[in-house]
């Protein structure tokens, strides 16, 4: 599938997951997106899947503790200052499941976008919006770039016998990662300027035309959003 229809389909699925009010609809979308993400190389997909699924799981576990509604109480806990009495009800669990599935669906749509879409062709399809699309594409690529840089830091430190472990060890890498990405972005901007970026009269390398599948996908994306708004 061409990158523009593919990006639209992913955006539509994320929007539908946010608009729909049935748990089963959101669950189906999340499961479908999870299946799509498993097509990415194993080495690259795990940070995205781990981050999204862990976030969804934490949302499911903790949000019932802080919510205050429902009549069928499954568990009663201690009273915590400021928060009040901890409990878990049937309704809170249902709502937590719904919200965590929504979180997972949106996160997985982004993961599929970052992992599977050809950002170069998406960028070239930007036409008159090319500057904005370039900014978005470069910002999106920041995540995998940081991921690679982090791996480089861990390897460089391991090479000196320093083991990076735990949240504290990894947190120590945050500041150099940010400093490194700032250096990189300056170098990249300089390189782009030296290659004529921003000059009027630019052209575009020809890209393959859309197939009928691409058109069907766009129609499906529009229908999914309307369906999510009205019926799902």
């Amino acid at each position: 599938m061409s990158p523009v229809p593919a990006a639209l389909v992913l955006a539509a699925l994320a929007a539908t997951a946010l608009l729909a009010d049935r748990t089963i609809t959101v669950a189906v979308i999340a499961a479908g997106l999870l299946a799509v993400c498993t097509r990415a190389p194993r080495g690259r997909r795990w940070p995205y899947l781990l981050g999204t699924l862990t976030g969804a799981a934490l949302l499911f576990v903790f949000s019932p503790l802080f919510a205050r509604y429902g009549g069928i109480v499954y568990w009663e806990g201690p009273t915590v200052p400021v928060i009040g009495k901890l409990d878990v009800t049937s309704e809170e669990l249902s709502y937590a499941l719904f919200q965590s599935l929504r979180f997972a669906a949106v996160g997985l749509a982004f993961a599929a976008y970052a992992l599977l879409i050809d950002h170069d062709r998406l960028l070239m399809a930007g036409g008159q919006l090319r500057r904005s699309v370039l900014a978005i594409a470069l910002a999106t690529r920041l995540v995998p770039t940081l991921e690679r840089d982090a791996a480089g830091y861990v390897e460089a430190l391991r090479g000196r016998g320093v083991v990076v472990e735990g949240v504290r060890g990894r947190a120590r890498l945050l500041s150099p990662l940010v400093a490194g990405s700032l250096e990189r972005s300056l170098n990249l901007a300089e390189s782009m300027e030296a290659r004529g970026f921003g000059r009027p009269g630019r052209t575009r390398a020809p890209s393959p035309p859309w197939t009928s599948w691409d058109r069907v996908a766009i129609a499906g994306a529009v229908l999914a959003v309307i369906g999510g708004l009205l019926w799902l």
Partner: protein
């Protein structure tokens, strides 16, 4: 008539204590190949940036004098408008890649220049072919080796068909064969080329003129023969020289042996040759880009696990990655070095002294020059006093005089450990190593 003219250029980066370029004047004529030399931090990269108009437009700072390229004064024209007449490939290929696809990357400049769409693909492919990199066209930039990426960056500049091509250490990550191929191409190109190099043997053979910078000033600007004589008298390290081997006290105990080993990167398996490293010896590992040198180095130090075969390591191993200056973590140089010894700052200061950075302990690592960062990286591994020391391309961006110092340093410490140096720099390999192991490139990719 000169294609480019620099007149009394003095330039300081914002906040810098001293100018990066001081009273520089030179001319570049159509079709000539100029070899730009100098120590690390002497102003070579800044001069290239001034010729491209990036200094002062992109960097700011204080600028006096005049730079004119193709009849246009660079101060009155934006660098993006000079693109096409001028093309530049920077030192760090990793930091100049915009796209994920190789062909799109090469086409980027052509699109910006407004080249007719029907010609873009053809010109991009042609530039890759001229660099011997046409097989990379369908690859993703993040999957390329450093040398492959460097060729893509040079191809991106070449595709613009400039009248002045500026190349900042374009062979720093190329194997000798690829470096020679690039020099052949530059010689036959027909446009003016200014080539800054720290592996100057080949460029010095092929160039028309030599410009040597010292602390931002032009120390010599002369035709090839005259420039070579000047180098022989003043900076002989920049010329090809006989290597002086120092006898190492080899006790014969193997520190590391690799036998029948391979490593799987996803579905791609890299098979590495057998090697045994003994205490007291320095071994240089050379070979073509992508032949598996880094994989072998990482297997030897335990950073990668073997998919098959055996790796026996007796003692502690330290590994200095390519471009170590990129991976600095601490806020002070001594703390950075101390990381490998549980923060022992006394040992860190000793290591800094060994690499010539005494007094730099309180400096922020990112404020150091690229050459100083390289030495900081070396101190960070030397401080751990390893039984096996592996250095991956330690001479990238290091000038020939510093390379000789580095070789002498490694030789002086050789008796304490086994040392493996992965390098494309055959001159450095000859200077530093007791023996050279060359890896043949894989003829066919192996799939898991």
């Amino acid at each position: 008539m000169a294609l480019a003219r620099v007149e009394r250029l003095t330039y300081s980066y914002p906040g810098a204590a001293r100018p990066a370029l001081a009273d520089v004047s030179l001319e570049i004529h159509p079709g000539e190949l100029v070899c730009l030399l100098g120590s690390s931090g002497s102003g070579k990269s800044t001069l290239l940036r001034a010729l491209a108009g990036l200094v002062p437009h992109f960097h700011g700072g204080s600028f006096s004098g005049r730079v004119e390229v193709a009849g246009r004064e660079t101060r009155s024209v934006k660098p993006s408008d000079l693109a096409g007449s001028i093309a530049i490939a920077f030192q760090d290929p990793e930091d100049q890649v915009v796209f994920t696809g190789v062909e799109h990357e090469v086409a980027f400049g052509l699109e910006n220049l407004g080249v007719p769409p029907a010609e873009i693909h053809e010109r991009a492919v042609e530039a890759l072919e001229r660099l011997g990199a046409s097989q990379l066209a369908g690859r993703r930039t993040q999957d390329l080796s450093a040398g492959e990426l460097q060729r893509v960056c040079v191809a991106s500049a070449l595709a613009l068909r400039p009248s002045l091509l500026l190349l900042d250490e374009p062979t720093s990550q190329l194997d000798p064969e690829a470096a020679e191929g690039l020099l052949d191409l530059l010689t036959a190109l027909g446009c003016a080329v200014v080539l800054s190099e720290q592996r100057p043997a080949l460029p010095l053979e092929r160039c028309d003129r030599i410009v040597f910078l010292e602390e931002g000033r032009v120390a010599v600007d002369a035709p090839q023969a005259e420039g070579l004589s000047w180098l022989a008298a003043n900076h002989p390290a920049f010329l090809a020289h006989e290597s002086v081997q120092v006898e190492a006290e080899v006790d014969g105990n193997p520190v590391c042996s690799v036998q029948g080993a391979s490593h799987a990167y996803g579905d791609r398996v890299v098979v590495v040759p057998d090697i045994e490293l003994r205490r007291g010896e320095v071994v240089a590992l050379t070979g073509a880009n992508g032949s598996g040198k880094t994989t072998l180095a990482k297997l030897a130090t335990g950073l990668l696990g073997p998919a098959a075969g055996r790796v026996d390591l007796r003692g502690r191993a330290s590994y200095l990655s390519q471009d170590p200056g990129r991976y600095v973590v601490a806020e002070r140089a001594d703390e950075e070095v101390g990381l490998g010894v549980d923060g022992d700052l006394d040992r860190a200061h000793r290591a800094l002294r060994i690499v010539g950075l005494a007094g730099y302990g309180d400096r922020h690592p990112r404020d150091l020059s690229s050459g100083e960062r390289e030495r900081l990286g070396l101190a960070s591994v030397l401080v751990t006093e390893p039984d096996l020391l592996v250095l991956d391309e330690p001479t990238r961006g290091v000038d020939p005089e510093r390379k000789l110092e580095l070789a002498a340093l490694l030789r002086s410490q050789a008796a304490d450990r086994a040392t493996l140096v992965v390098t494309h720099d055959l001159v450095f390999a000859a200077d530093v190593a007791d023996r050279v192991v060359s890896i043949e490139p894989l003829r066919e990719p192996v799939r898991a």
